[in-house]
Symmetry: C2
Subunit: 306 residues, 2 copies
């Protein structure tokens, strides 16, 4: 199975409103609640593709209980670590009139040293069954900045390849865990070198420990750079929708490919771009449009660029 | 004491963010949680003025427990009715960069007939101790549209004057309960007659059962219309801030005046305008700036206009 770890999960609450106007007052006409956090979303995509997966996450408080109840009803396999701090919430406001999605996230609660060690223990206990480890998302405040590197090191000890998807300091510190693939987006690449030179930033991530870099550029597609070369894959058309879900679907595709052994990079990139596009059409992060995925797969353009 | 009823209370959650941009993603740097709903806010203002009060409200689920915990820590006197449906949440996003407050509210859960009857029973049991009944805010979906009228009728049976603060159908249906005062704002008056003729709308509310109408027009001040005349009170200056809290502070001032017997209308209006202004400066609904209240009281202009 593919083991996903989400150090800072959330109860994702989505409010559908007629129109969101800053400074205004509006009543939600629909409210959706779902377990979230990047690793949980990745597990959800894998599960919907029929790929065995295990989501590992800390949970606390009443929103933590709501996360567990939703995971139960979704049929996702998971293993939780009980923590004292309440699970954070993200709030997404979907404005129907102008099709915007606005996301406000709570930062999360600091884990204790004992709680953090317990999360590592769960991963240590299950990594032997895993074909790939995915370590995704932000860290709660107060977590060790090299948290992702610690998780990835557990995978490395068992010869299990890993995928890292985070940003800022946790990304740079996480590279010490030598992920097989990191998946930054354009903004995250800019943060790495402070300028808009994606290829240079990707090379820097490889120099710092990443085996390969698969970078997402929204509707412009994705680039993969590894020891064997550099490829650009472009979707057949530009879509607007759920960008958070798109990144997580890409990570799911990368993990799925790594689980099959050494990846065929152009083929991986084609599938990952099609998965991202099909997730943009999904109503919530973790949903994909399976019909669109099948139609888009042959329509993606892949070219070697270096 | 002044008894306030909140048929559709909420856990009010406030996120402070650097800047709210529709379509964007932002992390909250501060999160505040507080018991809310208009009647709860009114009770909070009265409590901070040293006026004995009792807040009556239904609570359910984990957010209902959070409401009770916060009421306990605030020292507000309250009496709850346990209901099956979870207490709704309101989300206010305070954008620091441009000083906007954007509010998204959940609609609430329908009460059962038994739960609604239990809320009436609590009010029936305590109304004998009350000098004034305040019935405030929206109704949960599925509640009887004349819910406020039913509550006001319990007060009328005991000769207790009442204040009604709601909007739309619940306002019109609530007038059958013959409130001593209703407190619409400019928008709510427009809804009453479908045009921007506030004095005519106020007269219609009186014809339909309200003893007096105290209408709020934001920074332009407030008007009172009753059998004895019509007055306009204007604050000394225009303030920007918390409009929700301003309306609830006005209702608190009206209830406080009614508790003292037949009101001196110009004096009531002066205090209510000063209270509203001092609530605009409060960080959260239910907070008032006591120093500003004292300074503003003599600075309000009151004139008889008909």
């Amino acid at each position: 199975m593919i083991l996903t770890v989400t150090p800072n999960p959330a109860l994702d609450v989505t409010y559908r409103v007629p129109r969101l106007v800053p400074g205004g007052v509006v009543k939600a006409d629909r409210v959706y609640r779902r377990a979230g956090g990047k690793g949980v979303n990745v597990a959800r995509v894998l599960h919907s593709l029929g790929v065995p997966t295990l989501a590992v996450l800390p949970v606390g408080g009443s929103d933590g209980r709501a996360v567990v109840e939703e995971l139960d009803s979704s049929g996702l396999a998971y293993q939780t670590v009980e923590v004292a701090g309440p699970t954070r919430r993200t709030v997404t406001v979907v404005s129907t009139a102008d099709s915007t999605e606005t996301l406000v996230s709570e930062p999360g609660e600091p884990p204790s040293d004992v709680e953090w060690a317990a999360l590592l223990d769960v991963v240590r206990g299950r990594i032997g069954e895993a074909s790939v480890l995915v370590s995704s998302g932000s860290l709660p405040p107060g977590a060790p900045v090299d948290a992702h590197a610690q998780l990835l090191a557990l995978a490395a000890e068992h010869g299990v390849p890993s995928v890292l998807d985070t940003s800022g300091e946790p990304l740079l510190a996480g590279l010490a865990g030598r992920p097989a693939v990191v998946k930054p987006n354009a903004d995250e690449l800019r943060q790495v070198i402070g300028s808009d030179e994606p290829l240079r930033a990707m090379e820097m991530l490889r120099d710092a420990g990443a085996g390969a870099v698969v970078a997402s550029f929204g509707a412009r597609g994705m680039m993969a750079r590894c020891a064997d070369g550099t490829w650009l894959a472009t979707p057949s058309r530009s879509l607007t929708g759920n960008a958070t879900g798109a990144g997580d679907a890409a990570v799911a595709g990368i993990a799925e490919a790594l689980a099959g052994g050494t990846p065929d990079w152009p083929g991986l990139l084609r599938r990952v771009v099609a998965l991202s596009a099909s997730a943009v059409l999904g109503p919530l992060a973790g949903d994909i449009d399976h019909a669109y995925l099948e139609a888009e797969l042959p329509a993606v353009t892949v070219e070697e660029i270096g």
